[in-house]
């Protein structure tokens, strides 16, 4: 019985730690993104709130919380209300299976640094992340606004199109690691990360991750200068905040997943595993921001061509080649 209690306490402790770190990281990613974008465009970025603008995230939260939260006339009220929640919740749910460090020894117990090491972790991630599309499409549909509808429909098509290649690019990873468990996948990369073994899968996965998170160059569902805000045009206050937070949590999640699937997770020389993991995740996030600063937005036909005519056949061929090579090597 006490054993059960200790397990539960450990789970809760790990969860609170992860949620704290993730929300903190998401808040400061917003600031980092604005700062880096500013610098890359020869501006200062936010620097008024606190030293170097470091209190900016706090000010943003206070602002979002105290803004008016209203439902536009003739909107589908319930769908409108739950859509931002779906975005935020699905982003948070994926964190349950991400291993962020090698198992620790605490009080003579082996404590794995993951909330739960599901033996179907990859399937869990794919299942939960495909729920994220509902936040975008329901939000766009329920708003009773033309811009929102267009943004929602675009988002739906884009996310399902890239989800295919996303799923297919993980098949070689599973073939190499021979497990659905994310911890096993990291373990399998102890000597050499999968990015070196299968760079094609990494490239496809990375592009799909950008598309799934609706970031430049794939931000057509939002497209400020043609759709004003796309699916979240009509949202205000904390509901907009949930979309916003969800997007940045998603960035951390996807950065972690790129790290886990291809960059070797917590494996690395000299430094402690936890630091390596954090360092890699931040590097991937910095890459996302850098891409946002340097790339133009794709046209919709280019977006669909890239997804269906290039990435999909490429990842199918990659699966067959990987299979043949692995079987050939015995």
């Amino acid at each position: 019985m006490s054993d059960m209690l200790v397990t539960l306490a450990l789970i809760l402790g790990k969860l609170l730690f992860i949620f704290g770190v993730v929300l903190f990281m998401a808040a400061y990613l917003v600031l980092a993104e604005r700062k880096i974008l500013g610098r890359m465009q020869l501006r200062y970025g936010p620097n008024r709130v606190g030293p170097f603008g470091l209190m900016q995230p706090l000010a943003d939260v206070i602002k979002l919380l105290t803004k008016e939260d209203f439902v536009p006339a003739r909107a589908d009220k319930w769908l409108f209300l739950i859509a931002p929640g779906i975005t935020a919740v699905t982003a948070l749910l994926v964190f349950a299976v991400i291993p962020f460090g090698s198992p620790l020894e605490i009080f003579g117990r082996q404590v794995p640094l993951v909330v739960v090491d599901l033996n179907i972790g990859v399937l869990y991630f794919l299942g939960v992340s495909s729920m994220a599309v509902y936040g975008v499409v329901l939000g766009g549909w329920a708003s009773n606004s033309k811009y929102s509808l267009l943004g929602g429909v675009r988002g739906l098509s884009q996310m399902v199109s890239y989800e295919l290649s996303l799923g297919l690019s993980l098949v070689p990873v599973i073939m190499m690691a021979r497990s659905f468990s994310l911890t096993d996948i990291v373990m399998a990369q102890q000597s050499i990360p999968f990015v070196l073994l299968n760079p094609v899968a990494f490239g496809v996965f990375f592009i799909c991750v950008l598309a799934e998170s609706n970031r430049i160059p794939f931000d057509l569902p939002e497209a400020e200068n043609e759709l004003v805000g796309g699916f979240h045009t009509e949202y205000s206050g904390m509901r907009f905040g949930l979309f916003f937070v969800g997007e940045y949590i998603n960035m951390v999640v996807l950065g972690s997943l790129v790290t886990v699937f291809f960059l070797g997770g917590w494996n690395g020389p000299w430094l402690p595993p936890l630091l390596w993991f954090l360092f890699k995740v931040l590097a991937v996030c910095a890459m996302f921001i850098w891409i946002r600063a340097s790339m133009p937005r794709l046209r919709y036909d280019q977006l669909m061509n890239l997804g269906w005519k290039i990435l999909l056949p490429l990842s199918l061929v990659n699966i067959l080649v990987t299979g043949a090579v692995l079987l050939g090597l015995g």
Partner: protein
């Protein structure tokens, strides 16, 4: 079994509490000043014209249909991917034939112009 999925339930609980809590809190502290103009959907500052639920291109529907077919394909690939060492060349060739059949459908889709956006 319960050991494995109990934490997931806890995560779901916390995630929902975060989402609902923050919105409820903002409802409580936020200002409320409704006006008819504020409630009308945004349309570049002019009163909205016509119905918001406009018709949109059938292409989006085609993409959704193609997605369903290929998503099932992906779902079939996973069990093979995890057992492919045990299944060996027999499994690989079987899977190759399966992918080949789908690729025929894909090429048909492509040639019919379902993937064209002009």
């Amino acid at each position: 079994m319960l050991d494995l999925y109990l934490p997931i339930i806890v995560v779901i609980g916390i995630a929902f509490a975060f989402a609902i809590g923050s919105v409820v809190f903002s409802r409580l502290v936020g200002v409320k000043r409704y006006s008819e103009l504020k409630m009308s959907p945004y349309e570049c500052g002019v009163p909205p014209i016509g119905n918001a639920n406009e018709r949109f291109s059938v292409k989006f529907y085609l993409v959704a249909v193609a997605f369903i077919v290929f998503d099932v394909e992906v779902a079939f690939l996973y069990p093979w991917a995890i057992m492919f060492k045990q299944l060996g060349w027999y499994g690989a060739i079987t899977m190759g034939i399966f992918i080949f059949v789908l690729v025929i459908g894909f090429i048909y889709d492509w040639k019919k112009g379902a993937l064209e956006w002009e």
